[in-house]
Homo-oligomer: 133 residues x 2
DNA sequence: TTTATTGTGGACTAACATAGTCCTATTTCA
DNA sequence: TGAAATAGGACTATGTTAGTCCACAATAAA
């Protein structure tokens, strides 16, 4: 299935929300309530984004998150990598899987699939968060 | 995850195999053995392709499959639809899911996601089996 | 200094989709 | 009649995604 995961959807919604609340801290609870995103799940996502320096945070009372990069600096491709890990369109195209898979003579479609992979990557790299804000 | 399913990979390999064996019947067993694709699974895929008139078949002894369309008439997009069903990049973008999902005011990213969906579709429609043969 | 609020993060469970298997027809040719 | 082939339903196994639960740490306000 060719699908953007819920986590990436939630991340997009959260980043949009935070971007539009400029210069003020936004709590996970606030986003969760407003956008009906499960709180615990959203928290994990925001933490990931913080660890990747896309967001920054203040802990404690009156804490919250704020943007640490401009929306146009955050590629959709990067966001997806960070949240979902490997995003190759076929199992055999990620780095570690060079074992019994397509790389052998058996696989006849590796080249065109690699090409397609590149094109998908380009498409997702051409999108940034500013396209969603 | 943005990934082409194994079934679609197998379908591509099979279609390539059959295309390159022009004018002669090819059995599921032959493809399965040559390409190390699980026989039962491949059979299902070939049956689907036959029901979609991409392949045609002769039953019985000396039977097998043969192309019923030219490779350049078969879009990758179509192949994926036929084999995997819905291929929208987000749950809320397929036809039947207009319930509690993104269509409500809550979802802030529907428009840009729809746009991306269109672009992904265009990419996969621009590829045909002839790109893999 | 206590308490409420907020982020941090590990471990776990539930739900779902994908991949693969098993078994039984049915067709057709030799 | 029997072997080789497609046809197709039902089932199981595996892996991923989505979501939950819990304990802890940091901070500001009372």
């Amino acid at each position: 299935m060719i699908r953007i995961s819920k986590k990436v959807e939630y991340a997009l919604m959260a980043l949009k929300f935070i971007s539009n609340s400029d210069h003020k801290l936004v709590t996970a609870r606030e986003i969760s309530d407003t956008k009906s995103i499960p709180y615990d799940l959203l928290s994990k996502i925001l933490q990931t984004l913080k660890n990747e320096n896309i967001l920054a945070s203040n802990q404690g009372m009156n804490g919250g998150y704020f943007m640490n990069k401009r929306p146009d600096e955050i590629q959709l491709f990067n966001l997806m990598s960070v949240i979902d890990g490997d995003i190759s369109i076929a199992e055999c195209l990620n780095e570690k899987a060079d074992k019994d898979c397509c790389l052998t003579d058996i696989c006849s479609i590796k080249l065109p699939v690699s090409k397609l992979q590149k094109e998908v990557e380009e498409l997702f790299k051409s999108k940034t968060i500013s396209d969603f804000v």
